[in-house]
């Protein structure tokens, strides 16, 4: 837990050890995005959030592994090595910010900064039993972040409790002239204003997602939490989205994300920076570099992205996906007309076993798995909080509010934390980690 009072004069995060996902540029320190093509890339500048954290007194202790270039949800697809879930080493931590989630869950750091393009902070937080935050689109500068899909990319982060999450946003948020998508909206004093009183607050239970969850134990824990929130004074209503929209989330996401990724990574060619393979001419250098630099999985995604951007396919695929994204967001926004926040199960299962999980999910999957991409479509602020355990593995809830209502999000989250009692919930065998394995 971050002791803010002890650090008042030295900066809000003075002495706090922080891990950074390896797609966050750090001046003079290798930044690979877990891709071979960036194996020797050492940025000559800091990302804006790195500067902000440094000014707040944070100590950077490591760069965290991730799925290559942010593409994936297992953290198996990393040139720098796969990540395992601290609660069960045979299971994935989720991705793409799985390294960050595992470090916080294992108690190694109280704060880790990741990125979230399609639930890449909030799903790993659910699998690892920690708090995962993705604020409003534009709330945190993305300058210096190696991009994935620009219209969906957000900076997010992991902590072990809500107050730390609120404090971290005070440091990270704010306008940055280097990032034209960053907002001029004033940054609140979220941690000081935390208020868990639920009087006059309406919480919408995302019934469409709940109905898709099959695990009875998880459903019982979720219902128990909802009852406790009602006892604390919240008005509870059910909110729903048309199923046909929910089923479109995955294909629309994949169409947009792959297309944007293809364009964003065209500069990784071995000429300007990163690793280089030799060739007879410039063309051959680029082809050899990109063939050996990207994994087979990433090259496949580029091909699919490129396909939807072809002139003959643009209207039928890419533009249609963009239009449907708008329709989905409109329907999603309607849900917030009758409530202050929407609560749902974060992930419908515990973390999958490593050998059973796959990044190859281009096809249609259950929308209970993909529903947190709604907040990437809409840019709404969203947080994942521990709910309890099923089969000794963490399970979690997700809470979303309207744009720039982060204070309300943290307030309701604080009430949820009081209900679950899961504050500073880290893997309990950390002594074994430090004493037996490291010495």
């Amino acid at each position: 837990m971050i002791d803010e009072d002890a650090n008042t004069n030295a900066g809000k995060l003075a002495g706090v050890p922080v891990a950074l996902k390896d797609n966050i540029s750090t001046c003079g320190i290798k930044t690979t995005a877990s891709s071979r093509i960036l194996d020797n890339y050492v940025p000559v500048y800091d990302a804006t959030i790195v500067k902000k954290l440094r000014e707040a007194g944070a100590d950077f202790v490591c760069k965290a592994s991730m799925d290559e270039l942010g593409m994936g949800g297992t953290n198996k697809n990393a040139y720098t090595g796969a990540v395992h879930n601290p609660y069960d080493l045979d299971r994935i931590p989720g991705g793409s910010s799985g390294g960050c989630a595992a470090l916080v869950a294992a108690g190694c750091v109280p704060l880790a900064i990741g990125t979230d393009t399609g639930d890449s902070v909030r799903k790993p937080a659910a699998y690892c039993g920690v708090v995962g935050v993705k604020p409003t689109y534009g709330r945190i500068s993305r300058y210096g972040i190696i991009p994935y899909a620009s219209s969906l990319d957000h900076v997010g982060y992991f902590t072990t409790n809500v107050k730390d999450a609120a404090l971290a946003l005070e440091v990270l948020a704010g306008r940055d002239d280097h990032d034209m998508t960053s907002s001029y909206k004033e940054v609140g004093e979220y941690s000081k204003l935390l208020n868990s009183d639920l009087t006059n607050k309406t919480i919408g239970v995302f019934k469409t997602v709940f109905d898709e969850v099959e695990n009875e134990e998880l459903k019982a824990q979720f219902n128990s939490l909802v009852s406790k929130l009602e006892e604390k004074g919240a008005k509870i209503v059910n909110v729903e989205m048309p199923k046909e929209y929910m089923e479109l989330i995955a294909p629309v996401y994949k169409t947009i994300a792959n297309a944007e990724a293809t364009a964003n990574h065209s500069n990784l060619d071995g000429i300007r920076f990163g690793m280089r393979e030799e060739g007879q001419d410039l063309e051959e250098v680029m082809t050899n570099t990109r063939t050996k630099g990207f994994s087979s999985y990433v090259r496949a995604r580029f091909v699919i992205g490129s396909y939807s951007l072809f002139e003959e396919n643009q209207d039928r695929l890419f533009r249609k996906a963009q239009k449907i994204r708008r329709l989905i967001v409109q329907a999603y926004a309607k849900m917030f007309e009758e409530c202050d926040a929407v609560l749902s199960v974060a992930a419908p299962t515990i973390a999958p076993l490593i050998h059973e999980s796959s990044n190859v999910r281009f096809g249609v999957s259950s929308f209970a798995e993909e529903h947190m991409q709604l907040q990437n479509f809409s840019g709404y602020p969203s947080i994942t909080l521990p709910l309890g355990k099923v089969d000794s593995m963490p399970v979690a809830v997700n809470l979303t509010c309207k744009p720039f209502e982060e204070q309300k999000m943290f307030d309701v989250s604080s009430a949820i934390e009081e209900c679950t009692g899961l504050k500073d919930n880290v893997w309990r065998d950390r002594n074994e980690l430090f004493c037996n394995n490291w010495y």
Binding site: E244, E247, L248, P251, V252, T262, S266, D269, E283, M286, T287, R290, T291, F294, S296, R299, A300, F302, V303, I304, S306, Y307, R316, L317, K320, A321, K323, I324, R326, L327, V360, F362, G363, V364
Partner: protein
């Protein structure tokens, strides 16, 4: 060139300045082709505007 043939995917990859092996293309076909037929919005959705 026939659409979704191996040659077609080689061309797509080469346009993006990398190569795909024949095995990688077969894997890509396994992913892309079934998912295309499953994507409902490809066929039924005609949003205006």
């Amino acid at each position: 060139m026939e659409k979704f043939s191996t040659e077609y995917f080689h061309k797509l990859a080469n346009d993006l300045k990398f190569d795909l092996s024949d095995e990688e293309i077969e894997e890509l076909k396994k992913i892309l082709l079934p998912s295309r037929s499953k994507y409902p919005f490809l066929k039924k959705w005609t949003p205006k505007g």
